[in-house]
């Protein structure tokens, strides 16, 4: 069965849909966590610490977090590899362009492909910035995420990268959520409006929620 799924365009799309939904779920949790920053350094840092102790005493310190990280890495890789392979296939299936071009024809496809690439690059930067601190702008301190976040959003490029990426996330989710529903066969004519509304709401909510943090830093609400 796994072979059937992986060898088929429909199957690969299913992989993309499922991995995408996993990441979407994570994003929702991530965004809710982020908003704690508005309640001060204490609560935010405490939340960050709690993430490492979830599941104790059944789980050891950071086990749950690593489990989540593994699931996420698998999801990202599955999503990206499927996307890459499907895109290659798509481009091969339409090798020559029409002389008379219509821009709208590839709007969704382009948004997803370029948006996906932007997001992949963002994730790398984001991890190096706030998880490992490798490219962090201020003095990165493990266990002090509040200050680290404030540092990042005190630079013009940190804000720019983040804002662009969050808009890309919004657009990606907007088409991706609805698209995943179609791929998984839950869309129908009667449900179409509800699905599109949900997709738009999710996209808006996540973009707004994530952008609240840099906006908070820039306006001085968070400092």
């Amino acid at each position: 069965m796994a072979r059937t799924v992986w060898n088929s365009t429909v199957g690969k799309k299913t992989v993309m849909a499922v991995s995408g939904l996993v990441m979407l779920l994570y994003l929702v949790a991530h965004m809710i966590g982020n908003l704690k920053i508005f309640f001060g350094a204490g609560e935010f840092n405490h939340y960050a610490h709690w993430l490492r102790t979830v599941g104790e005493p059944f789980m050891h310190y950071e086990w749950t977090l690593w489990l989540i990280r593994v699931v996420l890495v698998v999801a990202v890789i599955a999503h990206a590899v499927s996307a890459y392979q499907l895109s290659r296939r798509d481009i091969k299936a339409r090798p020559s362009k029409y002389v008379h071009r219509k821009p709208r024809a590839s709007y969704a496809t382009r948004t997803m492909r370029w948006g996906g690439i932007i997001l992949a690059l963002f994730i790398v930067w984001h991890l190096l910035d706030l998880t490992t601190g490798t490219v962090h702008s201020g003095g990165f301190e493990t266990g002090k995420p509040y200050q680290n976040v404030v540092d990042t959003f005190s630079t013009w490029y940190g804000n720019t990268i983040y804002v662009v990426a969050m808009i890309a996330v919004g657009l990606h989710i907007r088409h991706g959520f609805w698209s995943a529903a179609q791929t998984l066969g839950v869309g129908s004519r009667t449900r179409d409006r509800a699905l599109k509304t949900t997709a738009n709401a999710l996209a808006l909510l996540l973009t707004a929620g994530f952008l609240a943090v840099p906006v908070g830093v820039m306006t001085g609400v968070v400092s």
Binding site: M1, T9, R94, S106, W178, G185, V186, R189
Partner: protein, 249 residues
């Protein structure tokens, strides 16, 4: 009406193609697009030039032979087949670009004619109900609820023209394939082959080199018969169901 046509000319499958420009005059708004091309061809023949090759047959919008991309739109600006597009949809003095379907699974045969035999092979892979002549039970033995019959009909309307592939940014044949799967899989008569049908047809579709679906929706917009985009959703659902069932066996 006087028009400038820019038409894709390509001698055969192996030759390189390019757009050529032609002027046509005395075009009536009541002419169909193909009658306008007939007019051009009559002039080309008399002037000793090779007339423009294009596929056409019934000229009433049902055989699915005609297949032109007009100003970047499969079948042109109206939601219909090229043969049912009339010149009143254009303005005097317009420049019109005419190109063949473009997809690697639809190689150009000559000028505006492409090879769509990949569609036939998708149907051969499972787009039928096995009912050898003479084996049929009485027609009323199995009533079919009207909504199911209507659903089947709506998808069975596909004329196999390939506009969906031509319009798709990925050259995908999902709408064509899903239309047939939905038509047959909803009917009680189609139930015994429900799983093999969808698995085999999708596999053949991939085999032919069509792209995948990114749900851009261009296929459904271009479809002259109005096959809905949800048709693809239905196929995905059938495919997942069949894959799960096959996995359990």
């Amino acid at each position: 009406m006087k028009l400038t046509l820019r038409v894709w000319r390509q001698k055969n499958a192996d030759a390189d193609g390019a757009m050529s420009t032609y002027e046509v005059d005395g075009i009536s708004p009541d002419m169909s697009f193909l009658e306008m091309l007939d007019t051009l061809n009559e002039e080309l023949i008399l002037s000793g030039e090779d007339p423009v090759a294009f596929d056409h047959d019934c000229r009433e919008g049902i055989c699915g032979a005609c297949s032109l991309v007009i100003n970047g739109d499969a079948h042109g600006p109206e939601r219909t087949t090229t043969c049912q597009l009339h010149m009143r949809s254009f303005a005097d003095g317009d420049t019109i670009d005419v190109e063949p379907w473009r997809a690697s699974a639809f190689p150009v045969v000559k000028d505006l004619v492409v090879d769509r035999s990949a569609f036939d092979r998708i149907i051969e892979a499972g787009g039928y109900i096995t009912a050898p002549t003479g084996s049929a039970p009485e027609a009323h033995a199995t009533p079919v609820p009207k909504p199911d019959a209507d659903f089947a009909f709506e998808h069975a309307e596909c004329i196999g023209c390939g506009a969906c592939v031509a319009a798709c940014p990925n050259g995908a044949a999902m709408l064509f394939t899903s239309a047939k799967i939905n038509h047959l899989n909803v009917l009680p008569q189609g139930a015994p082959e429900r799983e093999t049908r969808v698995l085999d047809m999708v596999a053949q579709m991939d085999e032919e080199g069509f792209g995948g679906c990114t749900l851009a929706g261009e296929c459904a917009t271009a479809c002259p018969k109005g096959i809905p985009l949800t048709s693809i959703t239905g196929m995905n659902k059938e495919w997942l169901r069949a894959t799960r069932k096959a996995g359990r066996r």
